[in-house]
């Protein structure tokens, strides 16, 4: 998973601090060499932005050359913007705040345009007494016990904001609290050393996504493939 904003990729610490990592193409080319399964590019937009910032980032993504499947999301808030992301070299589109709204028209329009197989939900969460999810549209965590529109997503990324960058801090209980089938989920945020715990485990997720904050550690892809 790569965080990308204003033409640069960032490494995130604790969901707050962003350290520049470099140009998107360099990072994607590096990941291509590892023959990883999927690259997810997220624009960490924490409030409303103007269209020029979005267009500038979309232009960078449009130029992207990669032979690895790419998912992209962040800052797509209305139906008009869906047409801006159509034609990008991207297989799937990631929506987050649309999951926390009662309104489902954006996700339905995206499904009509790209097909259901292209719709991915992103849930940045903190697990305390209750589950709190980060709603980027209002730029704060809000408690939830049920997610709207999740049935419109083909796959859901559960991103543990507190465990971001840790080797194994991911809170697996989130699937029970949110009543989500883990088979339909990708776990991210503190998962890099959890591979062994999911082998022959009927609560294993569909996949693990290594967040950008640990990409700089030199992981051997063969190590993952052997274990999985």
């Amino acid at each position: 998973m790569i965080l990308f904003k204003n033409g640069y990729c960032y490494q995130s610490y604790g969901w707050n601090l962003l350290r520049p990592l470099g140009k998107l193409q360099n990072i994607v080319s590096h990941l291509d060499k590892y023959l990883i399964d999927d690259i997810t590019i997220i624009r960490p937009i924490r409030d409303n932005e103007n269209d020029s910032t979005l267009l500038s980032d979309l232009n960078e993504i449009k130029k992207l050359k990669s032979s690895t499947p790419i998912s992209f999301g962040g800052g797509i808030r209305n139906i008009n913007q869906l047409h801006l992301i159509s034609g990008l070299p991207v297989e799937r589109f990631v929506f987050s705040s649309a999951l926390f709204n009662k309104e489902s028209s954006l996700l339905r329009a995206a499904t009509d345009l790209f097909g259901r197989q292209a719709i991915v939900g992103l849930i940045p969460f903190k697990l305390e007494a209750q589950v709190s999810v980060f709603n980027s549209q209002i730029n704060k965590f809000v408690s939830v016990d049920k997610l709207n529109n999740i049935e419109l997503c083909d796959e859901v990324i559960l991103y543990d904001c507190e465990s971001e960058g840790s080797p194994n801090g991911f809170h697996k209980d989130v699937v029970n609290k949110l009543k989500i089938n883990p088979k339909n989920c990708v776990f991210s945020g503190g998962v890099s050393d959890l591979v062994n715990s999911f082998i022959n485990n009927n609560k294993a997720p569909k996949a693990l996504a290594v967040e950008n904050s640990i990409l700089h550690r030199e992981f051997s892809k063969s190590n993952y493939y052997e274990k999985l």
Binding site: D32, L35, D37, K62, K65, S66, S67, T68, P69, I70, S86, G87, L88, P89, V90, E91, R92, T111, D112, L113, F114, G115, R116, Q117, A118, D154, E155, N184
Partner: protein
């Protein structure tokens, strides 16, 4: 020259990048009356079937592609671009296909989509010779194997006896096709443009 059909939906850019990696000349087909000028027509497809089909019809391509098929021009479909080769697509309440291959694109027997990498092995001798580069027809290496990337909700089932029909290498989806080939038509259900090394080898083999 290779021509890519762009009807305004789907991931055309990845296909362009893929062809660039394979170092071949291509262009976007901007005048559908000139379809006959291309040695290979690529029909990429990502998105919803109805929108894709409507746009093919809107640009007059539905009929032009049928004419290209009658002329025996090579046409390569990718994902939804392959499904539209069938007689009928179940998606979006039912859609008429191009009818190049006797079969249907039906909903997968899965709760969610088939979005994953799956093993893939292929014997190039299953392709007719006009699909193989000359160097490939003299090479003794006949088998390709590796993994390919799928991202689809609907799959191809064909009852056409004159078709080479290789199934998806997954027990639960073994009734659906991975590659379908009939004379001048080749269709990939997977995304060769996003299948890393194997996708590139596969394309260099046929270009």
């Amino acid at each position: 020259m290779i021509g890519i059909i762009d009807v305004g939906v789907g991931n055309i850019q990845s296909v362009k990048n893929w062809l660039d990696r394979c170092i071949v000349n291509w262009e976007i087909i901007d005048n559908y009356k000139k379809l006959k000028n291309y040695s290979l027509i690529i029909l990429p497809g990502v998105g919803s079937a109805k929108l894709f089909s409507d746009n093919l019809k809107k640009y007059g391509l539905f009929e032009e592609l049928k004419k290209a098929n009658e002329r025996g021009q090579r046409i390569l479909g990718i994902c939804l671009g392959t499904q539209i080769f069938m007689d009928y697509l179940e998606e979006d309440g039912g859609i008429e296909g191009l009818g190049f291959i006797n079969g249907k694109a039906l909903k997968l027997n899965l709760k969610e989509s088939n979005t994953c990498w799956l093993p893939f092995s292929f014997n190039k001798n299953n392709l007719s010779k006009d699909w193989l580069k000359k160097s490939e027809t003299t090479s003794r290496k006949t088998k390709l194997s590796g993994r390919v990337f799928y991202n689809h909700n609907y799959g191809i089932t064909s009852i056409d006896n004159n078709v080479f029909n290789q199934k998806i290498e997954l027990d639960s989806l073994s009734s659906f096709s991975s590659i379908i080939h009939k004379k001048n038509i080749v269709g990939f259900q997977f995304h060769p443009e996003k299948s890393q090394e194997l996708g590139e080898i596969l394309f260099k083999m046929i270009l």
